[in-house]
């Protein structure tokens, strides 16, 4: 796994600000998710709609989220039990960062980050006061896309 990531980083040609971040996301996510998926309760997802198309992917995610939010559903219960273990892992912060990057693919969420960024001075240093990965992920993604 580590070798795979190192190899990926080495071959990622040290991405520049103008690079296609989405491509990089895809490469990194593919490398990382292989490990994560090993322990995900995938058997409970058999009833989820297939997600091959873009529309299908959306329906599948909505189905999963409905299950996750319902703490009495089999998946909801499994998620609670699973996350109780996950949050004890040393690298759960990585999960946190990575999952928040989902919002970088939401145009409406990005609009919030654009609004924040456009209200800040274009020049000079900006102090980020504990905003955390929710802001930082989308904010950085926006910066990287607009800076090139």
């Amino acid at each position: 796994m580590i070798l795979k990531i190192l190899l990926l980083l080495a071959t990622a040609a040290l991405p520049t600000a103008a690079m296609d971040c989405r491509l990089f996301f895809q490469q990194m996510a593919a490398a990382i998710s292989a490990d994560v998926r090993l322990s995900w309760p995938s058997t409970l997802l058999k009833e989820a709609p297939p997600g091959a198309s873009a529309e299908g992917a959306g329906k599948r995610v909505r189905w999963i989220l409905d299950q996750v939010y319902d703490e009495t559903s089999p998946l909801g219960r499994e998620v609670d039990a699973y996350f109780a273990r996950v949050v004890t892992r040393e690298n759960w912060i990585e999960d946190y960062f990575r999952s928040y990057e989902i919002f970088a693919f939401s145009p409406e969420y990005q609009n919030v980050m654009k609004k924040i960024e456009s209200a800040l001075p274009a020049q000079g240093r900006i102090l980020d006061v504990g905003s955390g990965p929710g802001t930082l992920s989308a904010f950085l993604a926006h910066i990287s896309r607009t800076a090139g």
């Binding site: 995610v61 999952s99 970088a104 693919f105 102090l127 980020d128 929710g134 802001t135």
Partner: protein
């Protein structure tokens, strides 16, 4: 590691952003890293997004005053906070977040099902607090209260609005010259 390692955005961020933890790499969730007393950064701008409500009520005004002192005269603070009005509609906010995640999936997000579930659980507070015992309405300042606190701390209000589907109060504040 995070997806931001070695990414083009990081050098840009490091040249523009200073975080309270010292590095964008080290930014950690607020619940693990309560905001420390702020040194005088002499910053041109500052951003605080969905953080203020996590502070205890006794530390809110000192934090705002600390932010004021950390800015240059004329510096800008962007404050974006969930408002009390939204606390009455937790289901609506969850719907809004769900729509954003569905939108991301349809838009080619490469994240896997674990990531979506993790984000949903995180956003709904199940991983960070016991939502059932947390009185969010008491923790979220109303739009009027947030603006009043900002004025009392010494900021001028330049712009007011809302974000996150109307669930957050958006204030652009300025340190007087």
């Amino acid at each position: 590691m995070t997806l931001f390692d070695n990414r083009g955005a990081m050098p840009i961020a490091q040249s523009r952003l200073t975080t309270t933890t010292g590095s964008p790499h080290e930014t950690v969730p607020f619940f693990l890293n309560p905001v420390r007393p702020l040194p005088a950064y002499n910053a041109d701008g500052a951003v605080m997004n969905h953080v203020f409500y996590t502070l205890s009520k006794t530390t809110r005004m000192p934090t705002l005053r600390g932010l004021l002192s950390s800015l240059k005269p004329g510096g800008t603070l962007v404050l974006n906070e969930p408002n009390r009005e939204s606390a009455a509609l937790p289901g609506k906010f969850r719907e809004w977040l769900t729509d954003r995640m569905v939108e991301a999936a349809e838009n080619g997000s490469p994240h896997n099902e674990f990531d979506f579930a993790f984000l949903a659980a995180m956003s709904s507070g199940r991983l960070t607090r016991d939502a059932r015992s947390t009185d969010l309405a008491a923790r979220y300042p109303s739009r009027a209260e947030l603006e009043l606190m900002a004025r009392e701390a010494g900021f001028e209000v330049v712009e007011r609005g809302s974000t996150y589907g109307g669930f957050s109060t958006f204030l652009v504040l300025r340190k007087p010259k």
